[in-house]
Symmetry: none
Subunit: 211 residues, 2 copies
Amino acid sequence: MTPYVEQSNPQLKVYISVVHQLKDMIQRDRLTSGDRLPSERELSDRLGVGRSSVREAFRALELLGLIETRHGEGTFLRDFRDHRLVELLGMFILQNGQAENDVVEMKDWVESASFNRLFLSGKDGIEHLFDTIHAGFNKGEISTFTHFKSKLIKASGNRLAYKVWLVLHDFDTEGKKEILPLSEELIYDVKNALLTGNMEFIRAICTASDQ
Amino acid sequence: MTPYVEQSNPQLKVYISVVHQLKDMIQRDRLTSGDRLPSERELSDRLGVGRSSVREAFRALELLGLIETRHGEGTFLRDFRDHRLVELLGMFILQNGQAENDVVEMKDWVESASFNRLFLSGKDGIEHLFDTIHAGFNKGEISTFTHFKSKLIKASGNRLAYKVWLVLHDFDTEGKKEILPLSEELIYDVKNALLTGNMEFIRAICTASDQ
DNA sequence: GAGATTTATGTGGTCAGACCAATTGTTAAA
DNA sequence: TTTAACAATTGGTCTGACCACATAAATCTC
């Protein structure tokens, strides 16, 4: 009926504005990963909003992996590179009767492209990478072919691709178990294939391991 | 009905478990975009948790753009394409250009692999596909190169890859505009390249259009 | 009876307060 | 000095209250 005075931003929810103010605060104060954010109660007080609204903003950012909360300690900023956007998106994209073939194929694509990227990165990088992988293998930290492969993909340098691969892999390997044992010899073969650009060999190995 | 039995993992926060149960519910009930989710109060009751915990889960998913809440109406599932990945990335993550490079590169991978898949599908499929594309072009339905490209990727057959491409493309083209005009000749050239397996040509075109 | 108006109900939006649990710093005791 | 008990701070969760918005039902008006 009577047109009432509209507020500055009628649609904007409080928790959204808190998110934005947090972003501004982070930029203004040059906060980086590990830095502590104000407590929920202090922020609630300072911004003049209810604590529940602050929590809604915090929980949203926490689910995204942008902040980390420790009970009794406080809320801390995380490395933004550790965001969980891909996982969350994948959680809802990869749901309704997703064709398994699509997932497997896409995973193959990411793997192939990652290996190719690794090959293009040059000899030195590969040598150094396999030094650490060998060390990990000897210490028993890397014991499965899948783990070995994930190290390679991660090391290939595209963080996004690695995250996507992890999600696809999780979805793809529901209830499956590792069948291909990892040996020093296998690692050596893959290394040689990467050095020489023998991508077919690597694909063959991966195909054999992905049952 | 059956009250939710408290989960075994005591560390798991309530709102996280709500997120997972929402995912399961969506999956189980085959909910798709536009469908309504239970109200906060009903969910709170059904899951045996406080309404504030349900809200924390809802707010997180809302910030991601996976759900939509309408005051007085309820909470609805959104199309995954309405995700807020772009804004969130821009707000917090896009500090180093690396993240952006990752997106561009990964998009390239998906495109290349899709085109290759199309090539492998054989002559008949490509001919038929371009019949409909030509029709769409003449009717003005397909007027940009990007739209043309998206048709190809979608037609390549991997629905998941298409979804992923849409997300990546959204991010990649933030604030950019189409610069490559779509012509009948260009369509013809791409078709020939697909028929002959001239992937380099297609990549060159795409690279030229993706500024 | 048809249309407009009011009411009731359901829903999200927000806040305040209470209580618990975990952590840390301070104080008191040994 | 070391250790134990305590207090303060902080996140985790629930409950209840109230408002704003939307829709369906009941009511009124013509």
